[in-house]
Subunit: 463 residues, 2 copies
Amino acid sequence: MTSCALVCGAGCGERIPWLSTSPRTTCARCGELLDVKQDLTAVAAERAATWHTRFEARLRVGVGADASGVWSKREWVLPGLAEESIVTLGEGRTPLVPAPRLGAILGVPDLWIKQCGQSLTGSFKDLGMTVLVSAVVALRRAGAPIRAVLCASTGDTSAALAAYAAAADLPAIVLLPNAKITTAQLLQPLAHGALVLALQTDFDGCMSVVRELVERSPLASQLYLANSMNPLRIEGQKTAALEICEQLSWTAPDWIALPGGNLGNTAATSAGLEIAEASGLIARHTRLLVGQASAADPLARAAESGFEKFEAREAGATAASAIRIGNPVSVRRAIRALQRCGGTAESVTEDELGRAAAEADRTGLYVCPQTAVALAAVGKAARRGVVGAKDRVVVLATAHGLKFSEFKAAYHEGRLAGAASRRANAPIEVTATVDAAQSAIARYLEASDTRRLSIPSPLSNSL
Amino acid sequence: MTSCALVCGAGCGERIPWLSTSPRTTCARCGELLDVKQDLTAVAAERAATWHTRFEARLRVGVGADASGVWSKREWVLPGLAEESIVTLGEGRTPLVPAPRLGAILGVPDLWIKQCGQSLTGSFKDLGMTVLVSAVVALRRAGAPIRAVLCASTGDTSAALAAYAAAADLPAIVLLPNAKITTAQLLQPLAHGALVLALQTDFDGCMSVVRELVERSPLASQLYLANSMNPLRIEGQKTAALEICEQLSWTAPDWIALPGGNLGNTAATSAGLEIAEASGLIARHTRLLVGQASAADPLARAAESGFEKFEAREAGATAASAIRIGNPVSVRRAIRALQRCGGTAESVTEDELGRAAAEADRTGLYVCPQTAVALAAVGKAARRGVVGAKDRVVVLATAHGLKFSEFKAAYHEGRLAGAASRRANAPIEVTATVDAAQSAIARYLEASDTRRLSIPSPLSNSL
């Protein structure tokens, strides 16, 4: 039977159960972040065929925990969690779509997109939050005095936390810097009924108030921290890698490419591949490629030294706002993962990410700027020969393009900072006559024909 | 072997193959819209167990046509379509989520939500457009001179058409009224590379230019009409009803509730139930409940006469902008469907739809205003005793809430026309001290406790 525990990330030897009446996210001995440690020996002790049959049977189930991409792998996610504690909103089970035409442009025709943004809150964060909130339900049942979940966030994290807390009828609290508030950004946590506190400080200031609240305030034991230092979220996020392999009939791709900010998802993807390999379901050879915006690329800079040295840096402005992070929380976990798989990181300019998004959208995708960073990184790595022209590459699309309308508007209106908008498209005003419409259409059709003739052997998305 | 044909909706007897070198969407004899007629005898000729096994086997497939919610039912969707013509982006296979807490508020605890908005373009229209665009690929291969697909639309239809056309590398053209243009509204078709023509006229003016173009212009045979009069889209949209039944282990719910504008989706849902019944996979008893905004409720008014008389009306402003339609294209198909199943239609005020959305979001959903209309309709029908307190009700969520940020912002800022915003939530500004944060949190926790105690036996979304 599988199991897991929390262990000290610094390797001091501390090991505690995840289910406890006084839950922790840092090591009591040395203060380091805790990691979830799965018992891989127990995973390996079952035959691969048994895991295969079990997971395949759940694919047929239409509702409930088995129909969740996360909880259908529950023995590998949070073993020991009682099924009645699971809070699921149907997360995971997102499409894996071939993108050969975009791949041909990037130099890797065997390109696939894992659509993690096609979800309840529009980002991959749902995968982690279903685990965190379910764990809180279990902790409360076990007697922990938790009354609310809490995070400091201006983006996807707060949306996912608030949604899953609402589903569990659990109070959620979001702290964020006052200066950055627009209702549009906050609509998701507000709509989900969270308490949204706008603090007169910056993001670091919010984080220090959060830490005080959960460590030393009178409410400390009543508030559960949901920020990315919480290791339980990684266990849910790793199921995206599991689903990719499962969708490809349990064959691992040569590369999984993804955007990197706080780097928790890099650690999660590695953890997913690791447990799938331990089970015998895949032969592990997948390498990870992390794309970073050049304004916030400490990991890509560290790649130049083979990750021997890492330096945090101040993050500058980038359209890929969700990965504007200069000092990533999970850098240690991520570097370990990249070293183990022979992975690497690439830095991508604003112009490159803008162009990658525009090219992707013209083949039927609708990518967020972070996913565009990963796509552009694939193109660069292919040009440098790091990724081979025949390699199978899966890009983790981390959020829905619908969450980044301002990015798309800026690109197509030619006002995206640092980007040339060469693939911009704009509406054409015409008088309301058939003749006027007809001549505009005729010009467009001619241009489309010319464009298609100029692309050598365009591959189609048809199957 | 299953098959389908296009037949005259007026019943004049005209019957033509869908695959033709000169495709039509209206009857050549009498000008009436064409319907897709499936050969239900052929569906019934196979054993239910055979269909069951075939569809179940495809649930295990991770990529390609079998992994699409639409094309995994291809024998019932567009029989005769060669597999190499299929253009899929992983549409369908969306979650079916229990919503017992919201259901308790509405008076129907056995409430479920079918999340059709968790898709590539954020609306259920993807289901129809994969069929239409795949058909165009097949028609071109058969020798039809089609060079582009075309629609008049300001919303979800143009987004889905442009996305699937981009995936097929097929030119797409969108016509819309100049006055209504904002880049944000048009970002999806623009990003997907469609030709977006802004005409100096209103929506009806656009439609008449479109009709001229496809019926009488020199380009007529080169342009394929994708508006909702095209019956092929209904064949894709009906798979949402098929998936609901499949997810519930091939049991049909008592009710399927959905928003009604042009009413194509009402016809589609009925068609899905009809073919599932013909196959023997379900015993048919599902009734349809159509929600309409009171500003645009010709069908709900017709319900008062048992649908004996129907009068088109001028549609007024409503937050449910996607169903602001006074003269629905598919009204004939929809009334036939409602009469057959004993279904009905309910009219919902702006205050009722605003409140339904707010209540839904506070249980972990994130609904669009149209879905809110369907939810409010369920509540009203339950209060009137039309829907029973023990009935199983599935609401078709037709779009992602992320597409309707302005609606949510208006509600939570107390400026949604006609709505009282009693469940509005707003950020609270506090100084950046632990004390300030702590007292705000303490007040929120107390209020949460009080609220929970005041709801009799709150059901949880936990499974």
